[in-house]
C-alpha cells in the first residue's frame, strides 16, 4: 500500500516498489490525490492494481471531515470483487442506450454470502458534485488549477529555501514539508496570521496549498517564512510528469458556458423522480421530509469550510453542536453514550460489533465470536458481522416473520461459551412490533451475549419506546432515515451508534484527536474524527424544531399512515403480517405472489407500471420474494397517500383484466411499462391497449405527467457487455441506429 503523493508531500516513482510487490505475489494499492494526477504519471501507468482516494477537493466542502466521495479504481480482472456500486451502460426494451447499476449480484442485499463488502450507502451526492466539477472545468480547467497550485507550491518552496529552511522532499506537488531551526515556531506564527499549518511530531512543518489560496495569501505565507517570492523550486520531477491525456470524453468539454451547464444539470434532474415530485414509499428506507430549513446551514462557511484536523479551539461551534446532538440521541435511544463517527448504517453495525468484541475481550472472553442473525435480517447484518470477524449463525423465523424463540434458545444454548451477539431489527423487518422482543433479548443475555439492534426501523420507535427499554445493548441509528438527512440519490448517510454504559469504554476513537471517544476504544471506523460532521446540522435542526412531543407525534402518525394505507389496500391486495392487535408498525407488506399464476404479472411489472403514474416503486421482494413493502412516513399527506393507493388499485384492476382476458397476457400495460413520450407520440402504436391507458391511466397523471426517459432497462445485456465509463458519442449514435 503506497501513498502518492505521500502525506508530507513526497512525490516518488512507485514503479520499482510495485514491481517488487508483484514479484512477491502481492497486489499494489495506491492511495492517490486526484488533483495531483492531472500532472503526475498516474498509478495505472505504474502498474498499480487498485487506486483509492478522496474526491473531496473536486468542489466538495471540507465540512469538518465529510461527507465526501471516496473513490476506488481497479483492474478489469477484479471487477467482480470490487466493492461498492458500479454504474454501467446497457439498453432498454426498445434497444436505446440506458444506464443502470451493473453487476448488482455483488451487492450484499442481493446475495449475502457472495457480497463483496457490507457497504450500502455510498456518497452519490458528493460523487455527482465531484464529477460535475470535472465537467465544469474540463481538462483545460483542471490542468490550469493543478498547475497553479503546483506553481504556488514551487514559489513558496523557493522562498523557504531562500529563508534557510530545508525541503524534506525536493520532489513535491502541492505539499511542502519544511525542516530547520525555525520550523517548530513557524506553525505558531502562521496560526496568529490566520493560517493552519500541520506541525509534525518530529519538529518539521507541512504546508498544503490548494485552489483557494490567493496571490495575496501566498505573499503572506512567504512573509511568514521570511523571504520574498522570487524563484520557483523544481517540484514534479521530469520522469514523473504525466504525458497521457485526461478527460477526453466529450462530456468534459461540452458544458463550459454556464447556460449550457445549467441546462445540462436541469436536463439530468428532470429525468429522475425525487421527493420534490412524488412520495417514495420505500419500505425500510424512511423517505421522509428533508426540510429546507434543515438543509440551509450545510452550505454556510462556518460549517462547510472547517478542516477536520483544525485546532479544537477553532471548532467550538461544531463541538457544542456534536455534544448537544449526542445528548439528544442518548435521550431518544435511552443509552448512555453515542458515537457520531460511522458514515453509514453499515459502518455503525461494524463499529457496534467491534465494541461488543472489545467488551468481551476486556472480560477475558475473547473466544466469544458467534453472532446470531435471524433469517429475516437486512443483508447488511451478516456482511458486517463477517467483516468484524464473527462467525454467523442463522436463526429461524416463524410464518409471520417473527424470530423463532425455540430455535433462538436452541442456538444460544448450543453456542453457550462462544455466543457474542445477536443482531435484531425492531420493529421487525416485516414491519411488526414483535411481542416477544423482551424474551429474545433475555435469552441472549442469559447465555453471555450482547444484543445489537439494527436501527433501520427506528422511525417507529422514537418517543414510544427505545432500544434501551427493549433490552438492546447497542444500536445504530440511520440519521438519513429517521433524522432527516436526505438520501442524496444513494448517500451521504450517517450511522451513529448508541451504547449502554458498559459498552461506552469501547466506542470508536481517533488517533489524530485524543479527545474524541474513549481512550480504551478500538480505534476509528472513519477517516475523520466525527465522520460526516458537515451534515449533522440537519439532524440537529430536526430534533430542535420538533421537540419531544413533535417527535412522538411524527412516530405515531408514521404508524397511522402505514395502517391507513394497509386498510385502503387490503380489499385489493393481501396485506401480510400484523401485530397482536391486527395493526402493522410503520410499513406494510403487500403480497403479489398470486398474480404470477393469475395473470403472469410479477412485482417488477408493478414497480415499472408505477413509473407511468409518476411514482417510485416500494421496496420489491424484500423481506419476502414476490411482495412489495410500503413505508409512507409521517411526512405524506392523506391526499398523497390516496393518490398512491389509487395508482395501486388501478394497477390491481389491470392485473384482474389480464386474468379475465380483457387485456392480453403478453401485450398489456404492465408488461410494456414504463411507456416513454417517444413511443406515445410515434405514428405507429403496436399495442393491443390504447395509448391513453398506457400514459394517462388516471386523471391526476394528466395534470403533472412524468415521462420515464427510457423503457425497461435490460440488466443482463449490460452485465454481458460491461461498459462503465462514458462511451464516445459516436457509440451512442451507432447503438441507437
Amino acid at each position: 500500500m503506497l501513498q502518492y503523493p505521500g502525506t508530507t508531500g513526497a512525490v516518488r516513482d512507485l514503479r520499482a516498489e510495485i514491481a517488487a510487490a508483484h514479484e512477491a505475489g502481492a497486489l499494489a494499492i495506491v492511495c492517490a490525490d486526484l488533483l495531483s494526477l492531472v500532472m503526475l504519471t498516474p498509478p495505472g501507468e505504474m502498474g498499480a492494481d487498485v487506486v483509492v482516494g478522496s474526491a473531496q477537493r473536486f468542489g466538495v466542502p471540507m465540512g469538518f471531515g465529510g461527507p465526501h466521495a471516496g473513490f476506488f479504481a481497479t483492474r478489469e480482472a477484479f471487477k467482480r470483487q470490487m466493492p461498492g456500486r458500479l454504474v454501467g451502460v446497457s439498453q432498454d426494451a426498445a434497444g436505446n442506450p440506458a444506464l443502470r447499476l451493473a453487476l448488482q449480484t455483488r451487492e450484499q442485499h442481493i446475495r449475502r454470502e457472495k457480497a463483496t463488502s457490507n457497504i450500502c450507502t455510498a456518497q452519490v451526492l458528493l460523487a455527482v458534485m465531484a464529477g460535475m466539477y470535472a465537467v465544469w472545468h474540463g481538462p483545460e480547467g483542471l490542468r490550469r488549477i493543478a498547475r497553479r497550485v503546483h506553481l504556488q507550491a514551487r514559489l513558496l518552496a523557493g522562498a523557504a529555501v531562500r529563508a534557510g529552511f530545508t525541503l524534506r522532499h525536493p520532489a513535491f506537488f502541492d505539499t511542502l514539508t519544511l525542516d530547520g531551526d525555525d520550523a517548530a515556531a513557524l506553525a505558531g506564527r502562521a496560526s496568529a496570521a490566520g493560517f493552519n499549518f500541520r506541525a509534525l511530531p518530529d519538529g518539521g512543518v507541512s504546508v498544503a496549498l490548494d485552489e483557494t489560496v490567493t496571490r495575496e495569501e501566498l505573499g503572506q505565507l512567504a512573509g511568514l517564512l521570511g523571504a520574498p517570492l522570487l524563484d520557483a523550486a523544481a517540484g514534479v520531477p521530469e520522469a514523473l510528469v504525466r504525458t497521457s491525456r485526461v478527460l477526453t470524453a466529450p462530456v468534459f468539454s461540452a458544458y463550459h458556458a454556464e447556460h449550457e451547464m445549467l441546462r445540462y444539470l436541469k436536463r439530468l434532474e428532470d429525468r429522475d423522480v425525487a421527493l420534490n415530485r412524488s412520495m417514495i414509499p420505500l419500505g425500510s428506507c424512511t423517505m421522509k421530509l428533508n426540510a429546507t430549513a434543515e438543509m440551509v446551514p450545510v452550505s454556510w462557511p462556518g460549517f462547510a469550510d472547517i478542516h477536520p484536523f483544525a485546532p479544537a479551539e477553532q471548532t467550538r461551534g461544531y463541538l457544542t453542536l456534536i455534544e448537544r446532538l449526542s445528548g439528544w440521541l442518548c435521550q431518544v435511544t435511552g443509552f448512555a453514550a453515542v458515537s457520531l463517527q460511522p458514515n453509514a448504517g453499515s459502518q455503525g453495525e461494524y463499529a457496534g460489533l467491534l465494541a461488543i468484541r472489545a467488551f468481551h475481550a476486556s472480560r477475558g472472553e475473547a473466544q466469544r465470536d458467534v453472532c446470531l442473525i435471524p433469517s429475516s435480517a437486512h443483508g447488511t447484518n451478516p456482511a458486517s458481522a463477517v467483516m468484524a470477524g464473527y462467525r454467523v449463525v442463522v436463526t429461524g423465523c416463524d410464518r409471520d416473520g417473527n424470530v423463532d424463540l425455540a430455535d433462538l434458545r436452541a442456538k444460544a444454548a448450543q453456542h453457550e461459551g462462544r455466543l457474542a451477539a445477536l443482531m435484531v431489527t425492531y420493529p421487525s423487518t416485516h414491519g411488526v412490533f414483535e411481542e416477544g422482543i423482551r424474551d429474545i433479548c433475555e435469552v441472549v443475555h442469559r447465555h453471555g451475549g450482547q444484543v445489537y439492534m439494527d436501527g433501520a426501523n427506528m422511525n417507529a420507535q422514537v418517543g414510544l419506546t427505545s432500544p434501551a427499554s427493549i433490552g438492546a445493548d447497542v444500536c445504530h441509528l440511520n440519521l438519513h432515515k429517521t433524522f432527516c438527512i436526505p438520501h442524496g440519490g444513494g448517500g451521504p448517510g450517517i450511522g451513529p451508534i448508541g451504547v449502554a454504559a458498559h459498552l461506552a469504554p469501547f466506542l470508536p476513537n481517533h488517533p489524530m484527536r485524543p479527545d474524541v471517544g474513549p481512550a480504551s476504544g478500538f480505534g476509528p471506523v472513519s477517516a475523520a474524527p466525527f465522520g460526516s460532521a458537515g451534515i449533522l446540522p440537519i439532524s440537529y435542526a430536526y430534533i430542535r424544531m420538533m421537540g419531544a412531543a413533535g417527535l412522538r407525534r411524527a412516530t405515531t402518525v408514521a404508524i397511522l399512515n402505514a395502517n391507513y394505507m394497509a386498510a385502503r389496500l387490503r380489499p385489493h391486495y393481501p396485506v401480510l403480517y400484523a401485530g397482536a392487535q391486527g395493526l402493522v408498525a410503520h410499513e406494510c407488506i403487500l403480497d403479489c405472489r398470486g398474480f404470477q399464476a393469475e395473470a403472469g404479472v410479477g412485482v417488477e411489472d408493478i414497480a415499472k407500471r408505477l413509473q407511468d403514474y409518476g411514482f417510485h416503486a416500494p421496496t420489491m421482494s424484500w423481506p419476502v420474494t414476490g411482495t412489495l413493502m410500503i413505508e409512507p412516513t409521517e411526512s405524506e399527506s392523506r391526499a398523497e397517500i390516496d393518490r398512491f393507493c389509487d395508482a395501486m388499485i388501478a394497477i390491481r384492476a389491470e392485473v384482474a383484466a389480464i386474468a379475465a382476458g380483457t387485456l392480453d397476457r403478453a401485450d398489456n400495460p404492465l408488461k410494456h411499462a414504463p411507456h416513454t413520450m417517444g413511443e406515445a407520440a410515434a405514428a405507429d402504436w403496436p399495442h393491443a391497449y390504447p395509448r391513453e391507458q398506457a400514459v394517462f391511466p388516471l386523471p391526476f397523471v394528466r395534470a403533472a405527467k412524468y415521462w420515464p426517459p427510457v423503457k425497461r432497462v435490460d440488466n443482463a445485456h449490460g452485465d454481458r457487455n460491461l461498459v462503465c465509463t462514458c462511451p464516445p458519442m459516436e457509440d451512442y449514435a451507432q447503438a441507437a441506429d
Partner: protein, 223 residues
C-alpha cells in the same frame, strides 16, 4: 379590563414555536381524525397503545429534549454555532483541502432537492439523470488514475483503503497481466477516444471502447 385575557399567553400561542411540527407531519387534524376512524383507533395515543406491545411502551415524557423552536429561531441558533467555528485558511492537507464549490454546482446540485432527495438508483428507468452524473464520476476517476474500471464512490478515503486491503486479501496473488511488463499502460491501452478520435475510423473506436470496457467473451454463460 378583561380579567380572562392573558396577553403573554396569547402572544406565546401566536408565536407558534412548534409550528414546524405541522410542516413536517403532513396530515392535518381533520385528515388524522378520518384516518383514525379508518383504522379503528380513537386517538393517536390509542393507536400507539394498540400497536406497541405494553411490555416495552415508554412513558410519554421519557425523552428529555429542549422544547420545540421554530425555523427562524433554530436557524439563528445554528448561525450562532457556525459563528463559533473559526474559518482560518487550513493548509493542513492529509486528504482535506480548500476548494471552491462552483456556484452553479452548489446551488443547482448541493442545494437542490431534485438531486438531494432522490433515492439510490435501483429503479434505473427513473434515475437516468444521476446515473449519467455517476458515469461522469467513474470516467473521471478512470481517466485520472489511468485504471480501466472505477466504482460510483465509497464512504471516504480510509474506508476505500480498507476495502482495497480486504479485496486484495480475497483475490490472492496478482494474476498475470500481459500488458503489465514495461508497458506504460495508459498510453497503450487507453487511446484517446474523445476529441482526438476523429482521426480514427468507427471500427477502431469501437475496438478501443471494447478494450477499455473489458467485455468478457463468455461472461455469464459457458462457451
Amino acid at each position: 379590563m378583561d380579567g380572562h385575557f392573558d396577553p403573554l399567553a396569547e402572544l406565546g400561542a401566536l408565536e407558534n414555536a412548534d409550528g414546524f411540527v405541522s410542516r413536517h407531519v403532513a396530515p392535518s387534524e381533520t385528515e388524522i381524525a378520518a384516518m383514525l376512524r379508518e383504522v379503528g383507533a380513537a386517538s393517536l395515543d390509542d393507536l400507539a397503545a394498540k400497536a406497541v406491545p405494553a411490555a416495552i411502551r415508554g412513558a410519554p415524557d421519557a425523552m428529555d429534549l429542549p422544547p420545540a423552536a421554530d425555523e427562524v429561531a433554530v436557524l439563528a441558533e445554528l448561525r450562532g454555532l457556525a459563528g463559533q467555528n473559526e474559518c482560518k485558511r487550513s493548509l493542513i492537507g492529509q486528504g482535506y483541502y480548500g476548494t471552491h464549490v462552483p456556484p452553479v454546482i452548489g446551488r443547482n446540485i448541493l442545494e437542490n432537492p431534485g438531486w438531494y432527495t432522490a433515492y439510490t438508483p435501483y429503479q434505473a428507468e427513473i434515475a437516468q439523470g444521476r446515473l449519467e452524473a455517476l458515469l461522469n464520476f467513474q470516467t473521471m476517476v478512470c481517466d485520472l488514475t489511468s485504471m480501466p474500471i472505477a466504482n460510483a464512490s465509497l464512504l471516504d478515503e480510509a474506508t476505500a483503503t480498507a476495502e482495497a486491503m480486504t479485496m486484495a486479501r480475497g483475490v490472492g496473488p496478482a494474476p498475470a497481466d500481459p500488458r503489465r511488463a514495461g508497458d506504460p499502460r495508459g498510453a497503450a491501452r487507453r487511446p484517446d477516444h474523445g476529441r482526438g478520435a476523429g482521426r480514427r475510423g468507427g471500427d477502431r473506436r469501437r475496438q478501443a471502447l471494447r478494450r477499455r470496457a473489458a467485455i468478457p467473451r463468455h461472461h455469464g454463460r459457458r462457451p
